[in-house]
Symmetry: C2
Subunit: 370 residues, 2 copies
């Protein structure tokens, strides 16, 4: 089958890597000539945000999917009109792309998400009291396009663009759950993972699984995933990012309509990975079992603050000596401060051992430049 | 690093698939334009048995390795002279390529292997009594080039080519062990696996791991692997195929200087797979841990006897519904009787469950043509 992917980054690369177990042809579209997928797929250099480019790319594929959500959803809708299968469909991509539509979607389907207002440019309209969160309607990514406004003084930093103004959750834990639905309507949910973010880079740092939650909290999450899967009316794999607040209530922070950093530890930690599940979704195959096999954790390999240029992974030989420790690099030759260059998955027999190993590995390796 | 691979078949494909976790460039050489590696590597169509072709292919690589042993070893020796790293080295490839040299190697290093004579064309020279095994000196592969001569009558079938004449072992079990050695001299051994061959196609059928062996038998195997790893004087990953006879003695049947069908279940069954280990060897990295995580087994997907043409995997949807069951196809579009098209790995919590699942899966799926 000819599978076209909008985006040629690491998520696409790991998707294709896994799917090489099967007999398909992969086509990717990315503006960067050296994108991680460029040498493992039929590669087209081009802008996945451009209507004509996406239309041309997709028209001769059996199915078109995405590995990034900032794509031209109108072109995907037109491909659907022409009979091309698009996974997830253009409607849900558009809904998730725009924070305002995304929030309205949660509200319409009774999915708990922090209270919000819509702001279309001026701070005068805002009724919510401090502190609150501003999320730009479009273009946010990896923590960009999101800021906390704590006081009247902070208001001068307010972005004067269409935004969601959202109440600030008093976060106890950041959780994530990856869910999948195929065209036949079959659904499957991965075990919940817990994230520990690096406050400086605002990129996912450690991610661990499984997380032991009270029955009440697990029930809230199950209710959210069920409502979400019933509401979407589209095949797809989605990462639902959750806040658990200090009073034990679960809120949806946001959803990604694609493979997600918070699912990477599933590569070795679960019976099947998010990448395998996405493949099953794209081909409308029976969904894969997602059980945790053991304790698993993930840490991102992020370009060091001071370094730009040809990448060196300092200390990597020591990491490779550690048992049940799995290095995943993304085929990026150039590092930049904060750039996601790879990740390391770790397996362990207990949570204590897992945290010890993660901390040890993190101290071992540094992403620097020549 | 520029890694060149002689051969572009499924072993190369799975090697590259795994190694996409790292940042290397893969180049493959194969006579078939649609070889399984052709669209996931920089592909050269050409004959890996031709001196000039191999020399040209290898001269600009950082390291050259193999995924099939029937390659031009002289060209590899010349590449070594020119300073190119060859893994495993040309000397051990040549030794293993020629059954006569291979048998003499075992004898010289006190590695138990069935008694043998060298025959250079005529049956008159043979001193060994019936029944015995004839193995052609060169060109044998997947059970081809091997026959049993049971009687004077069978002698008319004797091949009149350079051969090894070997005593026939009264086989209780066929075992296999995959060993690795890197340039630094570090060595690592996978747990022993047991093979159950399909007598008709003479291709590996089920392969299971771990195998519970008496201390005496395990000690014999450990002694063999140690002697072998000490003797080779080359980095490499090798599959040592063993016979356990009915009196409890272990014999080396033959060795492959490469990734091997009997190691496929390591993809999900072991802490790291043979493909990861081969990568570590090729790059001279610390070797990976090889522990069995659980019971694992593998069955080959072989083209049905009656079918030639565009392949269909009948029953595959049912297989995909089974938990802890992993389908690996090789990207071959055309099936032929007996052609290795893929394999399926299965995990289980006990040997009984494993055998049940393997038999069930085998009955579920058929490789047919359109």
């Amino acid at each position: 089958m000819k599978i076209g992917i909008l985006g040629g980054g690491q998520l696409g690369r790991m998707f294709i890597q896994n799917a090489l177990k099967y007999d398909d042809q992969f086509y990717t579209l990315d503006p960067a000539s050296d994108a991680p997928c460029h040498n493992i797929s039929y590669f087209t250099q081009g802008n996945f945000n451009d209507y004509e480019t996406v239309l041309n790319f997709g028209k001769d594929k059996d199915v078109v999917t995405i590995e990034i959500e900032h794509v031209n959803a109108e072109a995907l809708a037109e491909l659907e009109n022409q009979g091309i299968k698009v996974v997830p469909n253009s409607k849900i991509i558009k809904t998730i792309q725009q924070k305002i539509l995304q929030k309205e979607f949660y509200k319409a389907h009774d999915i708990p998400s922090p209270e919000f207002e819509i702001m279309d440019g001026s701070s005068d309209e805002i009724k919510m009291s401090f502190p609150f969160v501003q999320k730009l309607n479009t273009g946010g990514y990896d923590g960009k396009g999101v800021q906390i406004i704590r006081s009247a003084e902070d208001l001068r930093n307010l972005w004067t663009k269409d935004s969601v103004i959202e109440s600030l959750v008093d976060i106890d834990k950041e959780l994530s759950v990856i869910v999948a639905r195929n065209e036949n309507g079959e659904t499957k949910t991965f075990p919940v993972t817990e994230m520990v973010a690096d406050p400086k880079l605002n990129l996912l740092d450690f991610n661990i699984c499984p997380v032991f939650l009270s029955e009440n909290i697990q029930n809230q999450i199950d209710s959210i995933t069920q409502k979400f899967l019933n509401a979407i009316n589209s095949p797809g794999l989605f990462a639902i990012e959750l806040f658990l607040d200090k009073e034990g209530k679960v809120w949806v922070n946001e959803t990604a309509p694609r493979l997600h950093n918070s699912g990477h530890q599933s590569q070795e930690g679960n019976a099947n990975s998010q990448f395998e599940q996405m493949y099953r979704v794209v081909k409308n195959l029976p969904l894969a079992d997602t059980d945790s096999l053991t304790y698993s954790g993930m840490l991102n390999l992020v370009g060091g603050e001071e370094f730009s240029g040809k990448v060196i992974y300092e200390g990597m030989d020591d990491v490779l000596k550690m048992p049940k420790t799995y290095v995943h690099l993304y085929g990026k030759t150039e590092t930049k401060p904060g750039r996601k260059m790879g990740h390391i998955n770790v397996l362990a027999d207990s949570k204590e051992e897992l945290m010890e190993k993660l901390v040890k590995v993190k101290a071992m390796v540094r992403v620097i430049a020549e």
